[in-house]
Structure formats: structure tokens, C-alpha cells
Symmetry: C2
Subunit: 577 residues, 2 copies
């Protein structure tokens, strides 16, 4: 008997695709003489949000379950067990009166029977599970022949004081004086930097509590709008990771149960006291002064790149886009975005760059753009906006009054937004957004101008992190990004001699204040006590509050951190500032 962990990658609600995977693995003989673990909500995808409640989805899901049952009954199988993450509906009067997040068993004896219901329903940050699901209340030991395993679904392995129930403790209680062969955790656990370590640390902690029992962790892979699932499934034995699946890719890992030693569950005092996946998780440490920014080492930079790769490409694949379009400004953000696409794109995909200079664009901006495109082998087209800008200026002078100040700056950005989308319409390409987290935070961008795009790869990276990632890429890929763009002072080039630092504190200060403020632990008073300039703090906080309305109309941001803008951060627009 062996245990297979299927780290799978499917589109939400693509039942045909999911079924094909099962049929293919069965043909390969993978299921024979084995227990096969599939991720949380494998049978439907995650997160489904309100799709869960639509009649169309509910109908198709149930047809799919019936199809699987019929298929499974068609032939006699030899010790094949599938444990599948899925949904359990209670329908009353055509209405989903109750929905549970469960594990279903498909075996010689059972035809998609529920063997466990998720107990802890995360409802913080991007999570809304309590909105849709009813919780399980029971720990569960699953047995097959002479084997016994404890079962957990994702969040169940964590605990925090928010919950009035600790599934790991409950499992420990009911397994006292029994023999367990291991613990299964079925996950759909979103990625952020540092998450993988947290999972393994917590798995070790649980394993220890259960006398060094093996821990099987299967996670899904793929990207859904802003959420990246990294996979990174693993098997822990004797406090060592004995098997590890790839990160950000489909994979299958197999463990031979012959190796497993049965562990007697003696009553032990619980040592569990950590809580990671909570609302208040943060990279900040209270006694760090000033707030510590994420410093990319080679490892975390590489991981961030993998996450961005999956995030961008999965979005494109799922909406059927094969062409990418980037508006290059000669600045570092668009340079990084284009570089990412150049590095990530497959041979069937195309990337196009457009440079749209105005009268305020420096020659250097063109030179950088040209050099970068040459380095990446990407076609660059120059589409000047100088004439259009002056035509609009004239027209405004005639019909309204002369454009100046912010109105004159923003119109340039919006002309570019309109033009890049005209090109997108011509070629059927998707526009990749180039905003970073610092400018999103303080609203230093033009709504419907440089803020346009289908998806944002840099929206969870502060400007200083954008620089760091560029340096890492240059170290790894022979200075593919022109040094000039890394060394020049950031500018929006919307008026003569404009520099970002005329409007904002220097980025190392701005980003530190933002990380302190946004990641929940510091308020204005704390930041001032930490030594930041009062005016800087007041300005940053004010700008952040004022720009909520811009973020409300922003595209999905690929999530890289514990706390990101987007669905996981919900602040009303109208409030007292």
C-alpha cells in the first residue's frame, strides 16, 4: 500500500478537466494499491465565492458527482482509495440551505461518502469561509483495512483564539491510546512569502505532539484572480521532510507505507501555542525600529518570481489570452513588468511594448526602453502623445479653460491609458498593469491612466522592493535590465523636471511608514514614536486614506505578502479622515 499526494492544478468549476485528470491517472495505474489524497475542494476549485450559490454551478457539480460514481462502479478495483476534497450540499426547496467543505471517500466500499467536515472556517483577510460554509464540529480518525489516519482540512491544523474549537487538540484527545499511521492535511492554502516555512514548522509541531507521527500535507496549485496557490506539498517523517513536491507546478509525490512505523498515541501535554494564519499575521515585529521591510535574499526573490510567473500566466491561460501588452515609460516599474513577461513567456505567447513619449519625456527614457526591448528580444513601438496632448490642450482652451497643473498632468496619463487599450483591442492582447504598492498606497497614479490593466504583478511590492527584485534579476540574468533605469531618480515625467521625491518622502522612508501602517501593528502615534517625521507620517496616512476610491477600481493584484491591497483589505471609501 502506498500514499499518493496529488498536487493538482485546475480551473474553477471545470468539471471536465477535473474528471480527465482522474481518468488519466487511473489509466496510468496510479490508483492501484494506494491511498490517493487530493487537495481541499479538488472537485470544484477554490475560492468559489458566490458561484457556490448559483443554481447552474450546483446543478453541474451534482451531475459531475453522479458521473464519477458511475465511472467508479464500472470496474472492480484493487485496493484503490481516493480521498477527495469537495462540497457537501443540503438542498431544500432548490435552495442551498447548508454547504460543507468536506473530504469524500471513493473506494471499494464507499461511493463519494463524506468522511470529514472542515471545522475551522477562516474568515479574515481574503477568506470568507464562514459566509458560505457550515463548520464541522468533530475530529475524525479515518480507517482503511488495518490503517488509521487523523484528518484535517487546511485551517484545521492552525488555531487562534478567534476560534472556540481546536481540531488538533480534539484529534489528539480521540486518538489517545490508539495507534495512528499518520495525519492527512487536505489544503487549498494561498501563497505568501514565508508561508511554506510556517506550514512545515506547524506540521513538525503537530507531529511532535502525536509522538512523531508522519504528516501528509497536500496542497493545490494555480492562481485565481489575485490568489496564488503554491502547492509545495510535503510528507514529514521523524521531524524530517522526507518528500517534497514542486512549488508552483503540478506534481505527484508517493510514499510507501511499508516504511511507516505505527505510533502508539500516549496522552501527552499539548505544546501547540502558535497561530500563523490569522488576521493579525504580519511581517512586522513590535520591537523592530523602524519597521522592517522585506529584504529579498536570493531564495525569497526566486520564490517571488515563481509566484508572479504563475500569477500572470495562469490568469492569461484561464481567460484565453496569448498576447501581452506593456506601456513602457522608461521607469523601473514598467521595465520590471516587461522583463518578467520576457522571462516568463512561452513560445506560443507574444509580448509587445509600446513607448508613448510626451514633451516631458527625457531621451534617456527612450534609450532605456529600446535597450531593454533589445535585451529581451521584444518589439518596441513608439507612439508619441505630444501632438494629441497639445490638440487636447487647444480644445480645452477653446471650450473650457487652459489645462494646467494636475489636470494637464493626468490627461497625459489618460491618453496613454486610452491608446494602450486601443492597441489591446487591435491585437487581442491583455494589458499588464505596472503600478507598485507604494504608489497604490498613496494614490500616486492616475485613475484610468497608468493604473489601467487586467492584472497587477507589482501591486504587492513596494518601490524599494521593485528595485531589489530588478537587482536580483540582473545578477541572475546578465544585467538584462539596463543599469540606467535602476540608477535614475524615479519620475512620472508629467511636467518639466518632475521627480517623485518632490511629492513624496524618499521611498525608503515612505515604504517603511507604509509597511508599518498597512500591516496593522502601528498607528500614527507609534510611527512618530519610532522616530519618523511627524509631517511625513501625517502626509502618508492622509494620502492613503484619500486614495481608497482609486484602489476600489483597481485590477486584481497578485498577492505576495501576508497583507496586500485587494480583496483581503476592505476599507470604506466614505468615512471620517
Amino acid at each position: 500500500m502506498q500514499i499518493n499526494l496529488h498536487q493538482t492544478h485546475h480551473t474553477i468549476a471545470d468539471f471536465n478537466e477535473i474528471f480527465s485528470y482522474l481518468k488519466r491517472e487511473e489509466e496510468k495505474g496510479t490508483f492501484e494499491n494506494s491511498i490517493n489524497l487530493f487537495p481541499e475542494l479538488f472537485l470544484c476549485g477554490y475560492p468559489l465565492q458566490d458561484l457556490l450559490l448559483t443554481k447552474e454551478f450546483i446543478r453541474n457539480y451534482h451531475i459531475f458527482l453522479d458521473d464519477i460514481k458511475t465511472w467508479w462502479k464500472e470496474k472492480k478495483r484493487n485496493n484503490s482509495v481516493l480521498l477527495l476534497g469537495g462540497l457537501d450540499y443540503r438542498i431544500e426547496n432548490d435552495i442551498p440551505a447548508q454547504i460543507k467543505n468536506v473530504v469524500l471517500e471513493l473506494s471499494d466500499h464507499k461511493s463519494l461518502e463524506v468522511i470529514y467536515t472542515k471545522c475551522l472556517l477562516p474568515s479574515y483577510d481574503i477568506f470568507d469561509e464562514a459566509k458560505y460554509y457550515s463548520p464541522g464540529k468533530e475530529a475524525s480518525i479515518w480507517t482503511y483495512q488495518d490503517l488509521s489516519f487523523g484528518i484535517l482540512i487546511c485551517e484545521d491544523m492552525w488555531f487562534s483564539p478567534h476560534y472556540d474549537f481546536n481540531p488538533v487538540e480534539k484529534l489528539h484527545e480521540i486518538s489517545k491510546d490508539k495507534t495512528l499511521n499518520g495525519i492527512f492535511n487536505f489544503s487549498a492554502s494561498p501563497f505568501h512569502l514565508g508561508k511554506e516555512n510556517s506550514r512545515m514548522t506547524r506540521a513538525k509541531e503537530i507531529s511532535t505532539q502525536f509522538s512523531n507521527i508522519p504528516f501528509y500535507y497536500v496542497n493545490r496549485v494555480g492562481s485565481e484572480d489575485e490568489i496564488v496557490f503554491d502547492g509545495a506539498s510535503f510528507i514529514l517523517k521523524d521531524q524530517t521532510i522526507s518528500h517534497k513536491a514542486l512549488s508552483f507546478k503540478e506534481d505527484l509525490i508517493t510514499d510507501d507505507l511499508q516504511d511507516a512505523k505505527l505510533v502508539d498515541q500516549k496522552c501527552e501535554e499539548s505544546k501547540s501555542k502558535y497561530s500563523f494564519e490569522t488576521l493579525f499575521d504580519t511581517q512586522l515585529c513590535y520591537d523592530t525600529k523602524p519597521p522592517k521591510l522585506l529584504k529579498f535574499d536570493d531564495d525569497s526573490a526566486r520564490t517571488a518570481l515563481h509566484a508572479l510567473h504563475l500569477g500572470i500566466m495562469d490568469y492569461a491561460n484561464k481567460i484565453g489570452a496569448k498576447k501581452f501588452l506593456v506601456a513602457l515609460s522608461g521607469g523601473i516599474d514598467s521595465a520590471l513588468v516587461l522583463t518578467l513577461l520576457g522571462l516568463f513567456k512561452s513560445s506560443e505567447q507574444e509580448v509587445e511594448a509600446v513607448y508613448m513619449p510626451s514633451q516631458f519625456s527625457a531621451n534617456l527614457s527612450y534609450e532605456i526602453s529600446k535597450k531593454l526591448c533589445d535585451n529581451l528580444g521584444i518589439k518596441l513601438t513608439t507612439q508619441p502623445i505630444k501632438f494629441l496632448h497639445s490638440a487636447i490642450r487647444n480644445s480645452f482652451k477653446e471650450n473650457f479653460e487652459a489645462l494646467d497643473g494636475l489636470a494637464d498632468e493626468n490627461i497625459q496619463s489618460r491618453i496613454r491609458g486610452a491608446l494602450i487599450y486601443a492597441r489591446s483591442n487591435q491585437t487581442g492582447s491583455i494589458v499588464i498593469n505596472t503600478s507598485n504598492k507604494s504608489e497604490l498606497a498613496v494614490g500616486y497614479s492616475t485613475l484610468y491612466g497608468d493604473s489601467v490593466g487586467a492584472i497587477s504583478p507589482l501591486g504587492d511590492l513596494y518601490k524599494s522592493e521593485v528595485f531589489e527584485l530588478c537587482r536580483y534579476i540582473n545578477k541572475s540574468y546578465q544585467d538584462i535590465i539596463p543599469e540606467e533605469v535602476i540608477n535614475r531618480p524615479p519620475s512620472a515625467e508629467l511636467r518639466e523636471d518632475q521627480k517623485d521625491e518632490q511629492s513624496l518622502p524618499p521611498y525608503e522612508v515612505l515604504d517603511a511608514i507604509l509597511e508599518g501602517y498597512l500591516s496593522y501593528k502601528y498607528d500614527m502615534k507609534d510611527l512618530i514614536d519610532l522616530g519618523f517625521n511627524v509631517d511625513d507620517v501625517a502626509k502618508v496616512v492622509r494620502l492613503n486614506n484619500l486614495s481608497e476610491y482609486k484602489r476600489a477600481q483597481f485590477c486584481p493584484i497578485i498577492k505576495l505578502k501576508a497583507k496586500s491591497f485587494g480583496f483581503g483589505r476592505r476599507i470604506p471609501i466614505t468615512k471620517k479622515f
Copy 2:
């Protein structure tokens, strides 16, 4: 002794404003010899979303509570009781470990003591209360001198099978063989058409169950982003509404307790079986064929106008905008939006209209725009886009390829988007969006083009309802909207002789399919069974699914219906279509 229901209107987290209200009412003597009921979360505003978790907010809230306590202690009061909706935090290590939605008592004996915790935490549609709050588990009878009242907070008066606890039943149980003087419900209940009736019906039902006990319902008023609170507080006595507060305005209603008769609570069988405020609430009836659209009668049209008035003006006031800007197309949507602003604006506010014709704009479009502006006394400026459009066409031919088809249509819309925002930047005005629910549903609009704006008044009204509302307005305000715009066939005017019906089914069909599909009860099969054309249904559903990404970048929509686009409807962009 009397009971005062304070139907108040405050900005979220504006503690000064809230405190001023209390001080003002105290100076007027309102609090003397009376029990004063304030709405749910009166002390902070609602909905707060993640503001609830920020240190800044938590700190300021607690300072505010201390200030109130100090103020209250300053002088001896005469039978003054304030029952205030507010928050109860349990803070551990500077982190909000638990938050409760409560009623606090401020009286001779109590200094902001919690007297009740909300039990039912709505978590459907726009509601996310289970995400933030911990539920109460107990019914409560509040006593003062020889008076006794049952207490409920908003959702507690409703019940649905989703909840495993029925607060009304619980209250009924604990009040058996006791004497109650009435039931208080403290609400922050969002408006939608028909909601007011549901509340009163349910109040009557509860009152009956408690032997015709008086029912005091206090609701907040105001608009928060997309949610309108209508107030409409009431007192129910002997199955009759004895007092009724204004809708959509601050108000205070007073009941003299001398009138109240004490009611003996005998044990009665419960008759409660209805559930209104549930996820599956819908205006659709399963046996109605085809789906019934909302038909405006004078009453509902007037109510919708009041809700839009509050929704637009409160948004503007809260962000400090005094000027409004509308891009007129000569079509019915922008005509209605401008008319609303013309009717709603106060003497300190300004409204400006801009008409931006292209080569495809009919003369009639200008004539309609001119006539409408004359009727409303609003200044109209014509800002042609013909030259800009042809300049962009030339530039594209030179740098890329000739613009045609969709690319050429969309660029016109995006030029208008850029120009209207340039004007907005010049005058400091806010652009009011003109999209309707039908076009939002099928994506029949241009992202960053005609979909721009700060807030959307028509985003919850189908095109057919836009027509109906115009007809109602014309009936009530001497044909202020030119008949020509009501009678001409809808067109985007982005190519020669374009008509909406070339791309979409006729609106009466489209809107009926959409209402059936979006309000949850019907799936494609149902709609086809109901007699809709297979191709129409398939097309509408496909377009709806494909345009999720546009709605994800749309501005807040003022909610008028039980099911609206926006925060209360969350569908992933990437999924199997």
C-alpha cells in the same frame, strides 16, 4: 417617562460629530425623563469593514468612550437613559482578540455598560459580520425602574435555517410569565425597494407572538459607498404603526409610556416562520413565467428617487465634493443622471454637463442634450472628439495599423473618459457614472470609457427601469426630460447607424433573462423551459460571465434591490465559462 427613537445620520468614525449630536440633544433637554434609543453601531458607524481592526480606529474609539463617560458624570441627570449601539472590544497584546456588536447603557447607574450582544451576524450578500464579530448567545430582558423590555439588534428579529439559534424564540421563552412593556430593535438595516414593508410585517408578527406588545424599531440613516440606510424607524402598537419617522432623513420620534399597557406574557405557540433578510431573498417568484421585472408604481418610483438622492448626495458630502459633472450622450441613461442631479442639487452645489460628439453622433443627440440642459437650467459645453479621434486614427495607421471594429469604437469612448476627467480635474468636480444594470450585466460598455465615474446611480436599474423612472419623473415634473430621448432607439453611436438591438436582445427580453439569472432562482435550463429563446439565454449568460473583469473595476453602485452588482455579489473572474 417617554421613549425617544433617535434616527441619526453620521459619517463613519466621525466621533466628534457623534459626540456633538449627544451634547446638542442633551442641551435641548431631550434626554430628561426618557429612554433614548440609538441605532445599531451608532457610536462608530456601519459598515466599518477592516477599519474595525486598525489600531488608529480602535484607539480613537476608546478615547471617545472615555470622553462620553466623563461628560456624563459631570452632572446629575434626571431619569435619563441612553441605549446606544456600539462596539465591545476584547484587546489582547494590542490585538482585537474579540469584537462584539452591542447595546450599551448610559444612565444614572451605568456608565456605558454592555446590556446586550447581537446574536445573529448576517453574512450574505453585502454582509460580512461573522468575519468581524463574535455572536452573543443569550436573549436579554432589560429593566429600568419598573419597566421591562426585550432587546434585539437588527438581524436578531429575523430568522433563517442558516442560523442555529432564533433570538426571538429565545426572548419569548425567557419572557414567559413575565410582564414586558415592549421590544426594542436597534438597527442599521440597508435599504432596498420593498424592505420597509418586510420590516413592518415582521414586527407585527413578533408583536402578535408576544400578545400584541409594542415594538420599537430604530434604524440609522445615511449612505455608505453603495449602501443606503433609509431610516424609516417606527413604533408599532396594537398592530398599528403609531409613530413613523421620515425615510432617508434624520428624525426623532417620541412615545409617551403612559399610553403603554402592560402585557402579560403567556406561553404561546410560535408562529414565526418567515425569513426575509436571507441570502436567497429575491423579487422572483418561481411560478411566475416569465421572470417578473420590478414595475415602478408612483410609490416605488418616489422611494427609488429618495434613495438615489441620499446615495449621491451623501457620497458627495462625505468626500467633500460640491460640483458634479456628467457626460451627456443624447441617450436616456445620461439624461436621467443629469435630471437626477438637477432635481437633487442644493443651492451651494453646481452641476455641469459636457456633450462630446463624434462623427457618428446624430444631430438629435445634441438637440436632446441642449433641451434637457435648458429645462434643468444646467450649463452645457460641447467638446467635440471628432478631430482627436481622427488624430488617433492617423497616428495608429502610422505606428501600428488602421483602427477599425471594436478598437475604433472603444477609443471614442475612452477619449470621452479622459476628457471628462480632465474637466473634473480642472473644476474639482466628481464625475457621476451613467451605466445601467443591463449594460453592466452583459459588459456592453467600455472599460475606462463610458464606465468611468465616482459613483453609479443607475447601476442597479435595468434599462427598462431607466425608461420607467424617466416616465415617472416626466409625469411628476412637467416633462422635464425631452420625449425624444425616451422614444429614440438606444444606441452607443460609436459607428454608423449603430443600435443596441444589433448586439443585444430587445431590452424587455434581455432584462427579464438577466433578472431571472442574476437573482439566483433560475439557471439556463429554467430560463429556456420558461420559453426564452435558447440563443438569447446562452448569449446573455455568456456575456455576463465574460464581463466579470469589467465589473471588478467598476465604481460603487447605489444599491436599490435585494440583489445588486458590487460588494454583495462576488464571482471569480477566472473560472470555467
